[in-house]
């Protein structure tokens, strides 16, 4: 059983960052009630879909992000929704939402309303730019929020535009920070009786992150030196992504020990000269060119698996550029039990990337797949002591949808 199986989470999040945060809570045991608008979380329309056929019950994005949650379809704009929210709030240990700032207030369930009813109940509000400040109401996406808040400026080459990460990596990072903030708010709630309103934004989770930009910021603040994108032909000994027999490998020259590199390369004559051991040799462009003249033929003779094996043996920092198909069939991750099989009524048996970490005394587990739309509406309402007639009345009034 997960460590937080004793916690109930009222989840008003949709799309990616918020649902990733509540997935982390749900996968470690929390009972997460996902409140979906009629029509459902818009992430249900995000791919991939099997065979590229769009179906809101078959979204790969929704399937991955909503494991272990229960779905209640509730139209918060309908007057009938209020008593349902009231009872949900009474039972909850935590509320998480990612509406545009001010929306929850307009719906009548904002922080003041919550705090008055349950002074001990934490609310985590996730947004693009935060609950106040000049950009509060600005639109944002993975691309634009990463451009503003993240390390994008130094990603790529000088001759071209800055370039982002794959997919929605920044939103996922924010979700993990939100889960951490949520657990901290649980501590103040349960140990000190204090409900916190946590104001976390995607932009700020990037601005205040640990990455290349925060180093660029502090080194500029210290010394006035700026960190541009490197030109395409920039060279340093060893550092960078290099081609090999069957793909690419990445090496770092930072803090490099030449004795280990010699061992990896099989102690070749061309690398025996003590000039390679001089401080600063690894940032000398002339030496970089000389190094590559001998290093590249060696790389082209070996596959990325062979190169990594030799690097591991010599304790040299190296990473082969694996592709996703290679990773899924890789025995290391398979034998560690990383991949998780999940059975879903519409998608059948599927595999997803598994646990973020192992907690042996209170394990991560998939107890149920991502919910169908409104799959648990009836069950949740019954759990809140609504009678059969009351539920039918809520459905008739359009406040609730059942599957």
């Amino acid at each position: 059983m997960g460590p937080i199986a004793d916690l109930k989470v009222l989840d008003f999040t949709h799309y990616i960052a918020g649902p990733y945060a509540t997935k982390l809570l749900a996968d470690f045991g929390a009972d997460v009630i996902k409140v979906e608008r009629p029509g459902g979380d818009p992430a249900r329309l995000l791919g991939p879909f099997p065979g590229d056929a769009c179906d809101p019950e078959k979204s790969g994005t929704f399937f991955y992000l909503n494991t272990n949650k229960r779905s209640l379809v509730l139209d918060l704009k309908k007057p009938g929704a209020a008593p349902v929210v009231e009872r949900l709030v009474t039972q909850a240990d935590l509320v998480v939402e990612n509406f545009s700032p001010g929306t929850l207030e307009r719906l009548g369930f904002g922080w003041e309303w919550l705090h008055e009813r349950r002074p001990d109940l934490p609310l985590v509000s996730l947004s693009n730019f935060g609950q106040d400040g000049p950009y509060r109401d600005h639109a944002g996406t993975e691309l634009t929020l990463f451009a503003y808040g993240g390390e994008m400026y130094t990603m790529g080459i000088e001759e071209r535009e800055p370039v982002k990460m794959f997919g929605t990596a920044a939103l996922v990072q924010t979700g993990a920070v939100a889960a951490t903030a949520a657990m901290a708010a649980i501590f103040t709630s349960k140990l000190q009786g204090r409900g916190e309103h946590v104001d976390l934004s995607i932009a700020e989770a990037q601005v205040l992150s640990v990455d290349r930009r925060h180093v660029g910021q502090i080194s500029f603040e210290f010394s006035g030196r700026k960190s541009p994108r490197p030109p395409r032909d920039a060279r340093a000994v060893l550092s960078g992504v290099h081609p090999c027999a069957d793909g690419y490998v990445e090496f770092s020259g930072a803090g490099l020990r030449t004795d280990r590199l010699r061992e990896m390369l099989g102690n070749p004559e061309w690398f025996a000269d003590p000039k390679w051991d001089q401080p600063g040799a690894f940032i000398n462009p002339a030496l970089a060119e000389e190094f590559e003249a001998s290093f590249y033929p060696w790389l082209y003779e070996h596959t990325k698996y062979e190169i990594w094996e030799r690097a591991r043996g010599a304790r040299v920092l190296c990473g082969p550029l694996f592709t996703i198909d290679e990773l899924v069939s890789d025995s290391h991750f398979r034998d560690r039990g990383f991949w998780e099989r999940v059975s879903h009524p519409r998608l059948g048996e599927q595999t997803i990337p598994g646990r973020p970490f192992t907690l042996p005394d209170s394990p991560w587990e998939i107890r149920r797949p991502a919910p169908l739309l409104g799959e648990h509406s009836r069950e949740v309402l019954e759990g809140l002591a609504f009678g059969r007639d009351e539920i039918e009345a809520l459905v008739a009034a359009g406040a609730v949808e059942v599957s």
Partner: protein, 438 residues
């Protein structure tokens, strides 16, 4: 008002970024985080790569490794290393040579007073030091140990050394991010996995603390950084697992199929080699946003072509749109265009670099940077503040980036409980120090 983790003590044996970020987040939240450092052996990639660094070498290194305060590494560069100093806030530092018998005994006494020990070294390092979960548990039965190995403690890659950049390669990031029209050798090494792993690791400790409250038991947490990193590519994994399709590089285009999405040139302030280039990121999320963008552009004829009114049409002609939009944006200042586009409801933002972010009006209004004075009165310099904004409990910088051995007196006397006489003995034996003897 007590902080969320008031009363929790964390011993920090972490290196580089992922681990130190995790312990910094715990420190931000109120835990007493103590960096345990060996003054007789500088652990590389913790406070720099070497204990002393000549001024000329610092100047030749990139700013991340050589951009010290006023360009001068000084006598103790390890207290100011730009790659690491930002993850030292809200932490204490104690020194002891835990490789020696008396240092190990001291460490044991410290462990007895602690709730958590966190580390993310190469897997054999802690075993080599004898700092294992079993040893910790024999001293403090309910201890929580957090380990962040690169690839896990089991399996063929368990001994592989890695920085975040290598993990990103192994976990598929490097091959599928970057320009769609260039090969991966143009991919800049980044460390996005360190950020995710650090946040996840702080979360894992909170979960284990919650569990311990109920059961009285600690546990050994293992966060294999490569496994955690997979979440950032989940769409790519799901596509392969559902459709056996290996995802392609998208550059700045949208994984959700929104179009257009891109990074477009703005009026430069200087050459790109001096960080003078300016760019704006624009993503059109729906047809309404497209109409709004067309309006801001002044409804040029090319943008009114019928097929561009739908997302399918815009996707089909994405290259054409990129060209036209870039031709329009290049005459604007990035912030000016950002404000115009946001006014019209178009998702957009300047690509803000590391020396402009501190002056952004939103960043200033929200107080995201704060001046800090470092060891020996160096500063003030503006540093990031904690990401957590709690309504009832201010989460603040209580301790600026900590210097080596800054809290020796406190930790030896008040936490471990050594006498004045013992303290002086440990000093003479070289355990108590504020400098590396290397």
């Amino acid at each position: 008002m007590p902080l969320p983790l008031e009363g929790i003590r964390v011993l920090d044996f972490c290196v580089v970024w992922a681990g130190p970020l995790a312990t910094m987040l715990l420190g931000d939240l109120g835990a007493e985080v103590i960096k345990v450092e060996n003054p007789n052996q500088m652990q590389p990639m913790t406070r720099g790569t070497m204990a002393r660094i000549p001024k000329e070498l610092a100047a030749a290194l990139p700013p991340a490794a050589g951009g010290f305060p006023e360009g001068d590494p000084g006598e103790k560069p390890f207290n100011y290393h730009p790659t690491f100093v930002s993850v030292f806030r809200n932490k204490k530092s104690v020194t002891m040579d835990f490789r020696t018998p008396e240092g190990r005994e001291l460490l044991g006494r410290l462990v007895a007073q602690s709730d958590v020990l966190a580390e993310n070294n190469a897997t054999e390092t802690m075993e080599g030091l004898g700092i294992t979960y079993d040893w910790l548990r024999s001293i403090r039965p309910d201890i929580i140990m957090l380990r962040i190995p690169a690839y896990g403690s089991t399996g063929p890659y368990n001994q592989a050394r890695a920085l975040g950049v290598h993990l990103e390669s192994v976990m598929g990031h490097t091959a599928i991010r970057g320009y769609s029209d260039l090969d991966p050798t143009t991919s800049t090494p980044i460390f996005s996995g360190d950020y995710l792993a650090g946040a996840q690791a702080a979360f894992s400790v909170l979960l284990a603390l919650w569990q311990r409250r109920k059961t009285g038991r600690g546990q050994l947490i293992e966060l294999a950084q490569a496994e955690t990193a997979s979440a950032m590519l989940f769409q790519g994994f799901m596509d392969y697992l559902m459709n056996q399709r290996v995802p392609e590089r998208l550059g700045n285009r949208s994984i959700s199929g929104c179009a257009p999405a891109g990074v477009y040139p703005c009026l430069p302030e200087g050459p790109a080699s001096e960080c003078g280039d300016r760019w704006i990121a624009i993503e059109v999320v729906d047809d309404r946003a497209w109409a709004a963008l067309v309006g801001v552009m002044g409804s040029p004829a090319w943008a009114l072509e019928e097929d561009l009114a739908t997302v399918e049409g815009r996707r089909t002609r994405h290259d054409f749109l990129d060209e036209q939009i870039g031709d329009w944006t290049k005459d604007f200042e990035d912030y000016d265009l950002f404000h115009r586009l946001q006014e019209a409801g178009v998702a957009s933002a300047p690509v803000v670099n590391s020396y402009r972010i501190m002056d952004d009006e939103h960043v200033r209004a929200r107080g995201l940077y704060e001046p800090q004075i470092l060891a020996d009165g160096v500063g003030p310099y503006r540093f990031t503040t904690p990401v957590f904004r709690f309504s009832e409990t201010p989460i603040t910088v209580r301790q600026p980036p900590v210097a080596l051995g800054e809290h020796n007196e406190y930790v030896y006397r008040e936490v471990i409980g050594v006498s004045e006489e013992e303290f002086e003995r440990y000093r003479s034996l070289g355990h108590v120090a504020t400098d590396f003897r290397v």
